[in-house]
Symmetry: C2
Subunit: 184 residues, 2 copies
């Protein structure tokens, strides 16, 4: 594997409330020099929660997605707050968006979205032993909670409103993990 | 399902070579008014290719990812160009990044990355009946091609340099599809 490119320069070229665009000058190990743009994520990362209600049933949420201007069915998620560890953030998002808390939370893996130009990292947390517990969130309207059986994953993926790659990857991963555990 | 929020306003608040940030004023069906920011993607979308070399072997690439400043192992991908259909774009990216072309290309599904604030859509294309065919791309250094057996997916996902959610979701999807086809 070649050595990482050397960062020659890095400068903020645009900043809004949500987005921070950086221009980076890079020299690859073969001498090629390029200017790239990348988006800097919020420093603490995000969590995505796979809440298991029963053996084969996970809880999805249906929420308005401004980027694509439609309602999307996906796993609950949100940003980690300053000073919050990722399991605590996952449990908070679960209480705010789904109305459950979990006695058992486990960090499974961490995903990137588009590592070529986004620094964003999303930590996937598997949540089980759920009990009803609601915490007020900052959502503009009530979120609909949709239980879905993992054995019906193909039907979910054939829907036009279930497209988010992080949720899809996490659902496959948990389904495989539960199948492996059941065989052992 | 509630009616979609009404878009009250939409204005560009930052634009760089790669990124276009919009501020959107929205009124939800319950009367709540909010201001959101979203990133507008390039108009033609992107393709992600799952190239099947043999029955159980796909071709990954290892490429520098500026967003996270490390080399990442993932499926080949790229933007669709103006006037190009998505299967042609997939075959072009395959020739440029992997050094193969495909006689059989099939659109499987389309993913979003973070639909809450990105409009980006990535079309997943399954490519088989491959033959060696290289086309020069615009990469700053040679891309390493890494064959990987789908039966070894768990080992891939346990690596620290394979994190991109779109690639992971697409690999699970193709593995399941090939298993189903093999049973029929």
């Amino acid at each position: 594997m070649p050595e990482k490119p050397r960062i020659l320069s890095a400068a903020t070229i645009a900043r809004t409330r949500l987005f921070h665009v950086e221009q980076v000058g890079l020299e690859f190990s073969n001498g090629t020099v390029v200017q790239y743009e990348r988006l800097q994520a919020s420093s603490h990362g995000a969590v995505l929660v796979v809440p298991l209600l029963e053996d084969d049933t996970v809880l999805l949420i249906r929420e308005y997605a401004a980027g694509v201007h439609r309602y999307e069915l996906a796993l609950p998620k949100g940003l980690i707050e300053a000073g919050e560890d990722l399991l605590r953030a996952a449990n908070r998002e679960l209480m705010e968006e789904v109305g459950y808390a979990a006695r058992d939370l486990r960090h499974l893996t961490s995903f990137t979205l588009a590592p070529g130009y986004l620094s964003h990292v999303t930590h996937v947390v598997f949540a089980k032993d759920l009990y009803p517990q609601r915490r007020p969130g900052d959502e503009p309207e009530e979120i609909e909670v949709v239980p879905w059986r993992l054995s019906q994953l193909p039907a979910l993926l054939s829907r036009e409103d279930c497209t988010e790659a992080r949720s899809i990857a996490a659902l496959y991963m948990v389904r495989d993990m539960l199948q492996t555990e059941a065989r052992e």
